[in-house]
């Protein structure tokens, strides 16, 4: 009897639902994709230009494990001014290969086998697998359409057990665009204090809130800084997904533990990406605002058009996704997405790729050129009418 050569805890992790879908889409031609979770903008020129300049200067070596000191100082200043929470760039900030790495580091640094991790669902595809890979037990808390997929403290509290160690939050949320109201966020913070939880707050979409809706970081609430790992990066706000650059800010003991894993597995984030990130923080505000305004207009268009087509869709306050309700069509999310792809060549992602509570919904990304969105929505209307 031959034993699998792949370790059990890896073998048993299911492949991402997005991955399966991606392969079907990839095999077809002339598909309009609303399935893309990254900005369609190229990184603003001044950021690319500064990375080129740093290459010309020959900055190609390792940086400090925690990241270049200058970048860490810029990050601390940015987080202080935008999120109202101060960190010491010397030992409370670590630069990582995207927020994905930061999440992995934090979970591995915090979890003992069997510890439970709470997260709200529908959510980003990597949360549950990352928890499993770190030896934790993922516990999903379903959010509700009637709350626009924000997290109710009451629902969260029911899921807390003596084994709960960590709470993961992601607002604005991929895939729903949910933004937490400050009042509910305070109740959640109180629960974290009461049950002594560490909060991993993935705020990668935090610059992308619309119509003056403010973004509040849970780290800024009283008593939360010492138990929160604030995770952020450059991918979404500055259209820098391929640079793979993110960061974590948190209590020095946690950052130190994360750094231990990081230094042995990664050493440091790529220096050219760090140079580009520095430019984004120092001079990227204008280009970020321009892209955000463009997203806002696209969001308005896609939401109005979907509702006119008879597909209920709330106006999300953040990120660049809409999460329309397709329950009235009489198909599962997966069937809807597959048939839409086959018949109309429009790719959307089934809500179930983001957890079972995404059933009845699909994710449409509006990080796609406006004329593409227009055609896609027309095709979706045709599809639904039939």
């Amino acid at each position: 009897m031959s034993r699998s050569r792949i370790a059990d805890h890896v073998r048993t992790i299911p492949r991402s639902g997005i991955r399966d879908f991606f392969e079907i889409v990839q095999s077809m031609k002339e598909v309009i994709s609303l399935g893309i979770g990254e900005p369609d903008f190229v990184t603003p020129w001044h950021i690319r230009e500064s990375a080129i300049y740093s290459l010309e200067k020959g900055r190609t070596g390792y940086t400090s494990n925690l990241g270049a000191p200058r970048l860490r100082r810029a990050i601390a200043a940015y987080v202080e001014s935008h999120f109202s929470v101060g960190y010491n760039p010397h030992d409370e900030v670590i630069v990582t290969v995207g927020v994905s790495e930061a999440i992995d580091l934090a979970l591995r640094a915090l979890l003992n086998p069997g510890d439970e991790v709470l997260y709200h669902e529908p959510c980003y595809v990597s949360y549950s697998p990352s928890i499993l890979l770190a030896g934790g037990v993922p516990v999903a808390v379903a959010t509700r359409a009637e709350d626009e997929f924000t997290l109710r403290a009451g629902d969260l509290e029911k899921a807390i057990t003596p084994k709960t160690r960590v709470l993961m939050l992601n607002f604005p949320t991929n895939p729903t665009g949910a933004v937490m109201p400050q009042e509910e966020l305070k109740k959640i913070a109180a629960l974290a204090v009461k049950h002594d939880l560490v909060v991993l707050s993935d705020e990668i979409y935090s610059e992308l809130t619309y119509d003056e809706v403010p973004h509040h970081s849970i780290a800024a609430l009283p008593g939360m800084k010492e138990r929160t790992v604030f995770l952020h990066g450059f991918s979404k706000a500055f259209a820098m997904t391929g640079w793979r650059i993110g960061y974590a800010c948190g209590p020095a003991d946690i950052i130190e533990a994360m750094m231990k894993i990081h230094q042995y597995s990664i050493l440091c984030a790529p220096v050219m990406a760090q140079e580009a990130a520095l430019e984004a923080l120092e001079r990227g505000q204008r280009s970020m605002e321009r892209m955000r305004e463009e997203y806002r207009l696209r969001r308005n268009l896609i939401v109005t058009s979907l509702n006119e087509a008879g597909i209920p869709c709330h106006l999300p306050k953040g990120a660049f996704y809409v999460f329309p309700d397709i329950r009235g069509i009489g198909m599962t999310s997966k069937d809807f997405a597959l048939k839409l792809l086959e018949e109309k060549k429009v790719a959307v992602v089934p809500g179930t790729a983001f957890g079972p509570s995404g059933e009845g919904y699909v994710r449409c990304s509006y990080a796609t050129a406006l004329d593409q969105i227009k055609i896609a929505v027309e095709r979706i209307s045709d599809f639904v009418r039939k």
Partner: protein
């Protein structure tokens, strides 16, 4: 209002219905807003952005730095307006620095522009000197790059 202006500057030919959806306002409200902008003289007109090299390779554009003697009454305004009235003149700007007026002139060929400068512009009494620079190639105009940037490849579905 800023969003509307920005959209119109980007592409004023966008159908009004689509503009209204993007801005999240009704078509009637949008029409009223645009009408007000036009009436107030904020929007002066709508134009096409042309790639001249494709349209008419002989066409010539010159940027002329003009030094003028300002008048006791009216300063530069009267003389600037006088220059602006010529059909060949596309733009007139009062500048800080080494010269006073910057005049952009378009002609169908080199002779047209040369004749405008020699016969019309430099013969105006108040004009002290002209330095004429010809455009050789356009890379970007009105925010539009002339060479299309190749779209980078993107994965069709990503988390």
């Amino acid at each position: 209002m800023d969003s509307l202006i920005r959209l119109l500057r980007q592409n004023s030919a966008t159908p009004r219905a689509e503009l209204a959806r993007q801005l999240g306002v009704s078509e009637a409200d949008l029409a009223a807003k645009i009408e007000k902008l036009e009436k107030d003289g904020v929007i002066l007109g709508y134009q096409a952005v042309i790639n001249r090299e494709k349209w008419n390779p002989d066409a010539v554009t010159a940027v002329i730095e003009v030094r003028v003697t300002p008048e006791r009454e009216g300063g530069f305004d009267r003389i600037a307006n006088r220059i602006a009235r010529f059909e060949e003149v596309e733009g007139v700007y009062l500048m800080s620095g080494g010269h006073d007026l910057l005049v952009v002139v378009e002609g169908r060929n080199l002779r047209e522009v040369a004749s405008f400068v020699a016969d019309k512009l430099s013969t105006i009494d108040a004009v002290q000197s002209c330095a004429t620079h010809f455009r050789l190639k356009t890379y970007k105009e009105n925010g539009r790059a002339h060479a299309a940037e190749e779209a980078p490849e993107r994965l069709a579905v990503t988390p």
